[in-house]
């Protein structure tokens, strides 16, 4: 269901609060990553407070669902970063993951060395191709990449296509043929 078209049509404060809670609940249900599931309700409350603070400061009511999704995103992002900082995860994540793979051999993972090769090959691409290719690898659809880059669709598609060919060629030279 497209939530961007949702506007608050409730008149009373209680109805309005109910609408905000409902939208935020849906947003957090969709966006909360696994490691934050235990605190999803707290995060939703924190997001609601942020919205109320903004309304109080700006003296204007939030009327759209998309703004609430925006707040949900920033709340989750802040919490992910806060936890990351608090845990001070070692940079040796690769080694840790290798150990996990060793303990759980059934777990599918990328070919060893592919990630480093991929990074190296990406950084060798000219910027005009590299940026659309990275967005593609991030899972952005062509229309979404066009929006991010403020660029015409055909141009972005061509650059992505050519960039991926160059990327695969580079990876093949390094012994990877994904």
């Amino acid at each position: 269901m497209p939530h961007g078209e949702q506007r608050n049509v409730a008149r009373g404060p209680e109805e309005r609060a109910g609408w905000m809670r409902q939208v935020l609940e849906h947003a957090f249900r969709r966006l909360t990553p696994a490691e934050l599931l235990d605190s999803r309700e707290d995060l939703r409350q924190a997001a609601l407070l942020r919205v109320l603070e903004v309304e109080s400061r700006e003296r204007e009511e939030v009327q759209t669902a998309s703004y609430l999704w925006h707040v949900a995103f920033t709340t989750i992002a802040d919490e992910l970063r806060r936890r990351r900082r608090a845990h001070e995860e070692p940079v040796e994540t690769e080694r840790l993951e290798a150990r996990v793979a060793e303990l759980h051999p059934g777990r599918p993972s990328a070919t060893p060395g592919l990630r480093e090769a991929l990074r190296d090959c990406l950084e060798r691409l000219p910027e005009s191709r590299r940026i659309p290719v990275v967005l593609h690898l991030q899972g952005f659809a062509p229309s979404e990449a066009c929006r991010v880059l403020n660029a015409p669709g055909k141009r972005v598609e061509n650059l992505t296509y050519r960039g991926l060919i160059a990327l695969r060629r580079c990876l093949a030279e390094k012994g990877h043929a994904p």
Partner: protein, 206 residues
């Protein structure tokens, strides 16, 4: 995610210094950042799995929360090596034509018809003091301005302005004959993250 390339990219959990704020990532994903900054942020995700993850999260949130809206790109002041100047010109043309032909979108992140920015500039200005002014949009608002010829060739642009005015350098107007009009428009980013876009304004060069 069956493509091993996507899997390899998205499995990265490493951190890299110089991460952007979530707000900045949100804006870049929404296409509201200047292109040079967007490119830098995307580049950063090659090495930083943390930011890459936030990009995917922002993409998902925006895909869920907003209907596909007509994009009205503002060409940034920064360099973007698309190589073909003509395509950049066409994009500028398309964006301004969209603004001229269509009512403002209902997408809340991009403003609403009743929340448009008003010009506070005289109908005609001397080229040596071509100071564009518009109604301020509240404390903390940041502005982006784009100035073009009527054929939509870009003359000047400015980003991240903290005041509601912009002086177009005389050099940018050098090839504009006296008595000709230029078009300009403003995008305001408010403190709460909302964005408003003005209609295109016409000002004559004296």
């Amino acid at each position: 995610m069956s493509d091993p390339l996507l899997q390899a990219f998205q499995e990265n959990r490493e951190l890299a210094p110089g991460c952007a704020t979530p707000e900045e990532i949100w804006r870049a994903v929404a296409g509201l950042e200047v292109q040079a900054r967007t490119a830098a942020l995307v580049d950063h995700t090659i090495r930083c799995g943390d930011c890459a993850r936030l990009w995917r999260l922002a993409r998902e949130a925006q895909a869920e929360s907003a209907p596909v809206a007509v994009v009205t790109p503002i060409q940034a002041a920064g360099r973007w090596r698309w190589g073909v100047v003509a395509s950049a010109g066409l994009a500028v043309a398309a964006s301004l034509l969209l603004v001229l032909r269509q009512p403002a979108t209902e997408n809340p992140e991009r403003g609403s018809p009743e929340a448009r920015i008003a010009s506070a500039t005289a109908r005609e200005l001397p080229r040596e003091a071509f100071l564009l002014r518009w109604a301020p949009q509240g404390e903390g608002a940041r502005y982006r301005v784009q100035v073009t010829l009527p054929d939509l060739t870009e003359l000047d642009s400015a980003v991240d302005l903290t005041v509601s005015e912009h002086l177009v350098p005389p050099a940018a107007l050098a090839r504009v004959p006296a008595g000709s009009d230029v078009l300009w428009r403003v995008e305001a980013r408010l403190l709460d993250g909302r964005t408003m876009t003005s209609p295109p304004f016409r000002t004559r060069v004296r």
